[in-house]
């Protein structure tokens, strides 16, 4: 089982990249949701 560590490293790195990307999108999404709430509150208050 030569090179098994390389294979594991490759799979780990690959899935980690997707995971990190997904987290970053989710984070940006939640910041924007807060922003929407804030802006909506602002607009209804001004009315």
């Amino acid at each position: 089982m030569k090179n098994l560590d390389s294979v594991l490293a490759a799979y780990l790195a690959g899935w980690a990249i997707f995971f990190v990307y997904y987290i970053s999108v989710a984070q940006r999404l939640s910041t924007l949701r807060e922003e929407v709430e804030r802006l909506k509150a602002l607009l209804t208050k001004g009315r």
Partner: protein, 224 residues
């Protein structure tokens, strides 16, 4: 369907494909266990091309229809495609180091992948440098069209340039002459990654749609 439910299905799919790649598919005779990287590597490269193709389609559609939705699809596909390219560029050297003894070589396929990544990085950078939404959508779409047309030209120029050099031995690619259990593993891995592709693009698409509505709300707030 809730997105967490979709993610759970994907997780199961990934576990199954991992099992298939590691235990079900036989160990390749000449290369040994290191060949198992290919299941992820080649499928990711395939999915990246699908993503960039989608981006090209969205760019063309935007130029002719001017629907904001096409713009959102374009940026989502480009960004996710770049994530896939990153996986390809990371897993490739991990395979190459024990087999070729070097991390990187300027071979046609490797160089094409790299240049492709750079082109779409420029596409995303260009988007961040144009403020006005309509302008950003139009001009980035036009750049995307030019960039995609360049892909075959880059490929052929590098291939002719490197003809004297030995081609790397890539056994595989879901073609004929492949061991049946290996083929099943490839196909399922590709299926799982297509699932990942769709999940990521749709998440990114929702983000872009929300960003557009935030921009609208901001403008409305400023008018008051």
């Amino acid at each position: 369907m809730k997105s967490s439910f979709k993610a759970a299905i994907l997780f199961v799919l990934i576990a199954v494909t991992g099992y298939l790649a590691f235990y079900y598919a036989p160990i390749e005779r000449s290369m040994g266990v290191i060949q198992k990287i290919f299941y992820l590597h080649i499928s990711c490269a395939f999915s990246a091309f699908v993503a960039f193709g989608t981006c090209f389609y969205a760019n063309l559609r935007y130029v002719f229809t001017r629907e904001a939705k096409s713009d959102w699809l374009g940026v989502s596909a480009a960004e996710v495609g770049l994530a896939f390219i990153t996986v390809v560029l990371v897993t490739g050297p991990i395979w190459a180091h024990p087999v070729w003894g070097i991390w990187w070589t300027w071979d046609a396929r490797l160089t094409l992948t790299f240049v492709l990544g750079l082109l779409y990085l420029s596409y995303l950078l260009l988007r961040s440098m144009i403020e006005e939404p309509d302008k950003r959508a139009l001009f980035s779409a036009l750049f995307g069209i030019f960039a995609f047309l360049d892909v075959p030209l880059v490929y052929f120029s590098i291939r002719w340039w490197r003809t004297q050099h030995p081609q790397p031995v890539i056994l595989g690619g879901p073609g004929s002459g492949l061991e049946p259990r290996m083929r099943v593993s490839y196909l399922l891995m590709w299926g799982a990654l297509t699932g990942v592709l769709i999940l990521l693009v749709s998440a990114r698409y929702r983000l872009e749609a929300l960003r557009a509505s935030v921009e609208d709300l901001r403008r409305e707030a400023e008018v008051r």
